[in-house]
């Protein structure tokens, strides 16, 4: 049984009697101990999908359909109280901006203890000592002293470590990392990613890693989902996707990565912009930016089809 099974997830935003699909019919599975990378440009629906799994979608957003089966139970059928027992305990999340994801007026250590006191019913002193361990495990030295510091006394990388310490304090089964390195200095990005991998092995948790950095994905992920305008364009195991990308969008994303083995020349770009939710084109949502678009693409939004075992793609070219 997979740890997480998302089936036909639809998260729509309802504004002035119109509905806008931020996540549209997304399905995937995630097994225990694996890393699933969700890649896509900004506005592709990665974060909304993560928030949907966490049950943190607020109006005007709403989960309009589908199932999120976690450890055999549908999270969408759970009450808010039941979801609170899962959040931070079974499923944790870290954010791309550690500068604002930590409470500026609460002590760093107390932010770790909080989750332990809620979920593990730990007493303050006990929570404090577990928090020291968590801080040490994410590489924050002098934990006893730094416990009482406010987040502003930590650097960007240290704050992200702190966020990770908060997230793993209850040893969750699933960690959702929403672009955890985007706001960080390149020199510490690798450290943070290594830390996530190390903790994943130590706790045996699964990770959903949202990113638009294919370099990170190639290094860390077991499976990949490529998202565009709220839909999955392609999904496959990591090696398979990099070896044989089938979707024009995936290919285009890959052609934008600088490669050491490539001849000198200008880097490729994807023309145009990700359309706004309110202006999604009819038919294939990528067609306006696709090099292979045909008249048919404006009519039909292709289905996600299995092109190889475990390899899915959404493009009319795959049908031929």
């Amino acid at each position: 049984m997979p740890l997480l099974k998302v089936q036909g997830l639809k998260t729509y935003f309802y504004i002035e009697n119109s509905e806008y699909p931020a996540v549209d019919d997304v399905s995937f599975t995630l097994d225990e101990g694996r890393i699933l990378a969700v890649i896509g440009e900004s506005g592709s629906g990665k974060s909304v999908m993560s928030m949907s799994i966490m049950g943190l979608i607020d109006p005007p957003g709403k989960i309009s359909g589908g199932h999120i089966i976690f450890k055999g139970e549908d999270l969408l059928e759970k009450t808010e109280r039941q979801m609170r027992r899962i959040r931070g305990n079974e499923i944790s999340m870290i954010y791309q901006d550690p500068m604002s994801a930590l409470d500026p007026l609460n002590k760093a250590g107390d932010q770790i203890s909080e989750a332990l006191m809620i979920h593990k019913k730990a007493k303050k002193r006990e929570a404090r000592s577990i928090a020291f361990e968590s801080m040490r495990s994410v590489g924050i030295s002098d934990a006893e002293k730094r416990y009482d510091h406010l987040p502003e006394h930590f650097s960007g990388g240290m704050r992200q470590r702190l966020m990770i310490a908060v997230a793993i304090s209850c040893k969750p089964s699933l960690l959702i990392a929403d672009e955890p390195t985007t706001a960080l200095d390149v020199t510490i990005q690798a450290d943070i990613l290594d830390l996530i991998c190390h903790l994943k092995d130590e706790i045996n948790m699964s990770v959903i890693l949202n990113t638009h950095d294919l370099g990170i994905v190639a290094k860390m992920a077991d499976d990949i989902i490529v998202m565009y305008c709220g839909q999955i364009m392609e999904s496959a195991p990591c090696k398979e996707l990099f070896d044989d990308p089938r979707n024009p969008y995936t290919r285009k994303l890959m052609s934008c990565i600088p490669r050491a083995d490539k001849e000198k020349g200008e880097l490729d770009t994807i023309k145009g912009y990700v359309p706004h939710l309110t202006e999604l084109p009819k038919g294939c949502r990528f067609r306006n930016r696709c090099d292979f678009a045909k008249a048919e693409c404006a009519v039909v939004n292709p289905k996600l089809v299995e092109v190889k075992k475990g390899h899915f793609s959404r493009c009319i070219l795959n049908d031929r």
Binding site: R87, G88, S100, D103, L105, A115, L150
Partner: protein, 314 residues
């Protein structure tokens, strides 16, 4: 242990506030030093003052001197010195101010939290919060409370098991209940607006989302992550709240015939029973002391605010 940075900020504030208070006292003593029987009469299409400028200046100077050398405390008002009257009435007014202030704070914060729960921004609680402070004059609010109290007392109705409280007078501490309630309504609405505004604003912040992702309930989020910010914002706005409380106190004490400092302010100014000079000196003393008290509270709040502000940066 107060750090040198905080000490420096506190000293700067104390000096600034002391200078501002001195300036304010000078203004108050000039205005209140003008004799109470000063008048301008119209005669043959001419406006003629009943005193010349020298007389007024002398009265103002005399007022300054009597305030500074303490003789204003010895002026007799209905057989009692102004000093003892001040002490007697100040304790009564402070009971009302203190209780009103606490009620406003507790009621305002609780109502603000409740109002912030309403998802619909046009909810009736929020509408009331906007309407009361902005549209209803304090006189009307206090009069309505007074009418309600009269109704309760005249019909012998008791609330929450408390026997009917007299609608007038100041003979017992229980008489302070209604004035305290009536002066707390507007400040409570003001605090509630601040509270609900801060909660709504903070609820959209990423660290609150992160707290929700940790499994915190709304109650825990408000208690542990938002309330500090709310209290800080209230502390910043409290000088204005104290101002409202002081102005409401004048109306409440008069309507409820509760003989505190604010009651005597009106009484000294309007009663023909007290000679103009004594009434003028005592009035000047009362207003000056009220200014000093207001400024002391304001300074204390400002100092606490700077300690908290710098303290949180430590």
């Amino acid at each position: 242990m107060i750090s040198p940075e905080i000490s420096k900020a506190i000293i700067k504030k104390l000096i600034r506030h002391a200078l501002a208070l001195m300036l304010l006292l000078v203004l108050v003593l000039i205005i209140t030093g003008i004799p109470q029987d000063f008048n301008i009469v119209s005669y043959n299409a001419r406006n003629i003052p009943n005193m010349d400028l020298d007389e007024i200046a002398n009265a103002v100077i005399k007022n300054f001197i009597s305030f500074l050398d303490g003789t204003s405390l010895l002026v007799r008002i209905q057989g009692e010195t102004a000093g003892s009257l001040l002490i007697r009435t100040a304790s009564k007014s402070f009971a009302v101010l203190f209780a009103g202030s606490l009620l406003a704070l507790a009621g305002g914060v609780l109502f603000g939290i409740f109002a912030a729960r309403k998802k619909n921004t046009a909810g009736s609680a929020k509408l009331l919060l906007s309407l009361i402070p902005l549209s209803v004059p304090d006189l009307l609010t206090i009069t309505l409370v007074h009418l309600f109290v009269l109704y309760l007392y005249n019909n012998g109705i008791s609330l929450l098991g408390i026997p009917p409280i007299p609608a007038y007078g100041d003979s017992t501490i229980i008489n302070a209940v209604y004035p305290a309630i009536s002066i707390s309504i507007l400040p409570a609405a003001y605090i509630a607006r601040i509270t609900s505004g801060v909660i709504e604003e903070d609820m959209t912040k990423l660290h609150i989302l992160a707290a929700r992702a940790k499994g915190c309930s709304r109650f825990v989020i408000i208690r542990d992550h938002i309330l500090k910010n709310v209290l800080y914002k209230i502390l910043s706005a409290y000088p204005a709240v104290i101002g409202i409380l002081f102005s409401s106190l004048v109306i409440a004490e008069r309507l409820f015939y509760y003989k505190g400092m604010a009651f005597y302010l009106i009484f000294l100014r309007t009663s023909p029973l007290i000679p103009a000079y004594e009434a003028g000196v005592a009035f000047s003393l009362f207003v000056s002391i009220l200014c000093v008290i207001y400024y002391l509270i304001y300074t204390a709040l400002d100092v606490i605010k700077s300690i908290l502000l710098i303290g949180t940066r430590k």
